[in-house]
Assembly symmetry: C2
Homo-oligomer: 320 residues x 2
């Protein structure tokens, strides 16, 4: 029997998704459960097992040769463990061992969710054909992953590309991670809304949306505080992106996640700010493009990371 | 005739050095000239040609199979051109074409000086045997290069690892590069001295040394302003190093250059600050070590980059 499919699992703080994925990135069968992130380690793993069982019970399962997992981080790909910030009961949780057991000892490739999204956008999305790219998610948090020399660089532990927690303000505010002035602390949706509210912005609409989406609506209507909140976030993102480009040389930045739905409200000041921070000749021509895969990026990317991995001998779509 | 040697050329703002280098990194024959950095493009190239002629005239030249060049940046390895900030007459200067002509059309590998130093420290210095490392120089400027997956990552244009020009203070002072709050703008020797003097520090010694070396002497004697100047530089360096580790995952940071000669005056606050910025689990165990190759790093590294390159078919010391 040919094993021409992989099983992809995407573990986030809100939902756990799984899919059977073919060599073109098509999701042939999907399963999803809520994460129950505040419950015990066993209960969270119970939700994962339900998702995986929904895959192993499918007739196509016999064609699956490997399992790829993207998980909220930090992860430790060397140890096969995960410690997602937003799943408190999982600390050094041996996810890979559990998944191997549930899937009949198939090889399991683990990467962080940022790396998974980068692998997905590179395989089937906005970074297709790009040799060196940063793919980021700007949402309640800020995450990312790197494509270098045409391949995912997950890094030894699977966490590379963690752009949300680099400091662009070394004397700035403490971040929950323990650092100071992290990109996420300034530019995440949560922090855009926090900054706007602290600066006196109030939602005009009857719905009273005080999230970054509400700030984006106000900014699009010309509200000066809302515009300033996005401007500041865009500068922090630009400084982080420019740092990445200056350190590793990239040609493309893919930006996805809820906050990127603000469109021009984010992308216009972001591109402007980039020209102020990405000043050396070799970083001046960065392409900034919206993500294409939406919420599927994690699953497609977990599959891609798995095809890409040395642990799986199937014919892979990456590096071929 | 076996071609078991390479010719290494190191182009800086002060001197141009050349050497014949064997497969163990031994410098078998050296030549050096002042750069004449303020003169015409032809005169600067004249100095390079004198260095290269000093190599081609040597009896060992017949065993040379390739040329490796590390140059002050920015460089453009794709185009074979260099535009060193501190050599104003060279803008998009076709260095590789000139070198190919002078060396009888041997293959020429060009990388930035930061990448060269990283390749050198990885081959024969403090990063030997390390899979993922940042090697930096803290001197009148701040530069660096990256080793990823056991190989130099010069990036497509040869400039990767340019840590001196990432922003750690996005609302900070303008940098001559055009950016704001760059690591170099805070932590280079020039800027350590500038900050100390602006804060009221004056050299105590009869020699009146107002450089970073003078500030280091004062700091070692407990002068509070001098200590604060190194503390601030160390925090900026730490934020930049932590950013690098968070983005690409490294295990080791090698720090060389004149300012690193300050020893504990720099390394103690640097290690302390790193624990404040490198907070995520996968970056908490960074080794910070002094460079080992001194001023030879550029030549050894230019040779290493050349052995490492696809353009040279000789048996290489790297990736073997």
């Amino acid at each position: 029997m040919t094993t021409d499919l992989v099983a992809a699992v995407d573990i986030g703080g809100t939902k756990i998704a799984g899919a059977l994925v073919d060599g073109t990135g098509e999701l042939l069968h999907r399963v999803q459960r809520p994460t129950r992130a505040r419950e015990s380690a066993e209960n969270v793993m119970g939700a994962v097992t339900e998702v995986v069982t929904g895959l192993t019970d499918h007739p196509l399962w016999s064609r699956v040769g490997a399992v790829g997992v993207g998980s909220a981080g930090p992860v430790d790909a060397r140890e096969g463990t995960v410690s997602p910030v937003n799943i408190p009961a999982w600390r050094d949780f041996p996810l890979v061992a559990h998944l191997a057991k549930t899937t009949g000892d198939l090889p399991v490739t683990l990467v962080g969710d940022g790396a998974a999204i980068a692998a997905g956008e590179h395989w089937r999305g906005a970074a297709r054909g790009r040799r060196d790219a940063l793919c980021m998610v700007v949402s309640t948090g800020v995450g990312g992953g790197l494509i270098l020399d045409g391949r995912l660089r997950p890094g030894p532990t699977g966490n590379a590309g963690h752009i949300g927690h680099i400091s662009v303000d070394f004397d700035g505010e403490l971040c929950p991670c323990g650092g100071r002035g992290c990109v996420e602390r300034i530019a995440s949706g949560t922090n855009i809304a926090r900054y706007a509210l602290a600066s006196g912005w109030r939602p005009a609409g009857a719905d009273g949306d005080t999230t970054a989406a509400g700030v984006a609506v106000a900014a699009a209507q010309g509200d000066p505080i809302a515009l300033e909140a996005f401007e500041r976030a865009a500068r922090a993102l630009a400084a982080g992106i420019a740092a990445t480009a200056t350190l590793v040389e990239i040609e493309t930045v893919v930006v996805g996640g809820g906050v990127s739905q603000a469109g021009d409200v984010l992308f216009t000041p972001l591109r402007r700010a980039l020209s102020a921070y990405a000043t050396l000749p070799f970083v001046q021509h960065l392409d900034v493009v919206p993500a294409q895969l939406g919420t599927d990026a994690g699953l497609v990317g977990a599959a891609a990371a798995c095809w890409n991995s040395d642990t799986f001998s199937g014919q892979g779509p990456l590096g071929t």
